[in-house]
């Protein structure tokens, strides 16, 4: 009796040391991408409350341990807790995480200060990665958060970012800020 597709995906994700895209999984299992996507959703639900977490970003999937197991994992491996990010680094990371893709100028505009150094730190720690060049004057590089970022914060996906909904709503609001709508004037 052959294993169901979910089990195949489970085995592949378990073995893989890098995120696998739906396309790759479809190719390897010789199943349509649609079935793979559906099976992955099924797995995601099945793993809720388990010791394993299925992380997803931009159609790629990675299996990791649940963040709540982390203290025990550290005991097992004899590793220490990760260093906290500096405030500046955290701010820069947050700009990229919420606005992504974000260019260097985007970051500077939001933070009001040159962020080259912290960006370099984040790139070095692989929490963010350089992507495409934006098709605007100067063709600036766009930055995005990585799977390392998801792992660092124990997130299943970018949807788990705190206050993301509110942020997105405000972002939408701020673009028509001049119209001074109901959300327009905010008091401190």
């Amino acid at each position: 009796m052959p294993l169901p597709l979910t089990a195949l995906l489970e085995g592949l994700l378990f073995v893989s040391e890098r995120p696998l895209t739906i396309q790759e999984l479809a190719q390897i299992t010789r199943e349509p991408a649609r079935s793979v996507a559906a099976a992955l959703e099924e797995l995601k639900a099945a793993w809720l409350g388990k010791g394993i977490l299925l992380q997803e970003q931009a159609g790629a999937y990675l299996l990791v341990s649940h963040p709540e197991v982390a203290p025990y994992v550290r005991t097992l491996l004899g590793v220490s807790r990760k260093e906290r990010l500096s405030r500046a680094a955290l701010e820069t990371l947050a700009v990229i995480a919420y606005y992504q893709p974000a260019t260097r100028a985007d970051i500077e505009r939001v933070r009001g200060v040159n962020s080259d150094h912290t960006l370099a730190v984040l790139l070095n720690r692989e929490l963010v990665a350089a992507g495409e060049r934006r098709l605007t004057p100067g063709r600036p590089i766009e930055y995005r958060t990585t799977f390392e970022f998801l792992k660092y914060f124990g997130l299943a996906s970018l949807e788990g970012l705190p206050e993301r909904e509110r942020f997105l709503a405000e972002l939408a609001g701020s673009s028509q800020e001049e119209s001074d709508g109901p959300a327009g004037e905010k008091t401190a």
């Binding site: 994992v73 505009r109 933070r111 800020e177 401190a188």
Partner: protein
């Protein structure tokens, strides 16, 4: 004019917008051009008090200071509409954006404290090749020989002395192939069940070795003198229901095996 400058320490603030926002909030002002101008002096005091170690950061503060000064001078000249170079986002807008961002940052900072790491697997998963390959890994070809010896010994006692028959290895290759095809597996005893002569047993054994050599079958033995189990390597073929296999197919399949 407000009293002593709040203790603005650089390690608390990430940049000029941060300082500006704090100054405005401490005077319970809304973010407006007017509010900005109200805190200009304090901001300038802050810049004066900065340790001049970090050039680029100081530059960022000076730039904002210049924007504030410019705004204030415009206001005095009663041209507030020209507060800023219109190609740039106004300081007010920028500050509003930063205020919103700061609210998110509060959540993010708290989150950094609470969240923990999701760990990736530490090493490549053990490859399935190393997985339980039932029993068979524990046996060397030599074990087959001893098993055969046992079979032969058993037979020797009651083998009647009959006239010799010629046996061909092909006969057994066919027989094993057919049995594997139909059942997926066969026991060595089953294989030689109707057999009478020692030669036939040896020939049957050679046929099994041939299947092993060509990797068309694997063998398994559960104990030292237990029956040798011959298993098809081809799971699909073994799964074909008996009645669906036409004689012709069998012959083809056997030929293929050989």
């Amino acid at each position: 004019m407000s009293a002593p400058l709040p203790a603005v320490r650089l390690d608390v603030f990430a940049g000029p917008l941060d300082v500006l926002l704090r100054l405005i909030q401490e005077q319970k002002l809304d973010i407006t051009d007017l509010s900005l101008m109200a805190v200009t002096k304090q901001f300038l005091d802050h810049v004066r008090g900065m340790e001049k170690q970090d050039g680029p950061l100081l530059a960022a503060f000076l730039r904002v200071a210049a924007q504030l000064m410019h705004g204030k001078s415009q206001a005095l000249l009663h041209e507030p509409q020209d507060f800023l170079d219109e190609t740039e986002e106004s300081l007010e807008e920028q500050l509003r954006g930063y205020e919103r961002f700061k609210q998110i940052m509060t959540a993010v900072a708290a989150w950094q404290e609470d969240c923990d790491v999701a760990y990736q697997r530490m090493a490549p998963a053990p490859l399935p090749v190393a997985l339980p390959q039932p029993d068979l890994v524990n046996y060397a070809p030599d074990d087959l020989v001893s098993a055969l010896a046992a079979v032969l010994e058993e037979r020797e006692e009651d083998l009647p002395a009959v006239a010799r028959r010629t046996v061909h290895i092909e006969t057994y290759l066919d027989r094993i192939g057919t049995l594997l095809l139909l059942q997926g597996q066969t026991g060595f005893r089953e294989l030689i069940e109707p057999v009478q002569s020692l030669e036939e047993i040896v020939v049957a054994f050679l046929a099994v070795l041939e299947f092993l050599r060509s990797r068309k079958a694997q063998v398994r033995q559960t104990g030292l003198y237990a029956d040798i189990l011959i298993l098809s390597m081809d799971a699909e073929r073994a799964a074909i229901p008996r009645d669906e296999v036409a004689a012709g197919n069998i012959r083809d399949a056997v030929a293929e095996v050989r």
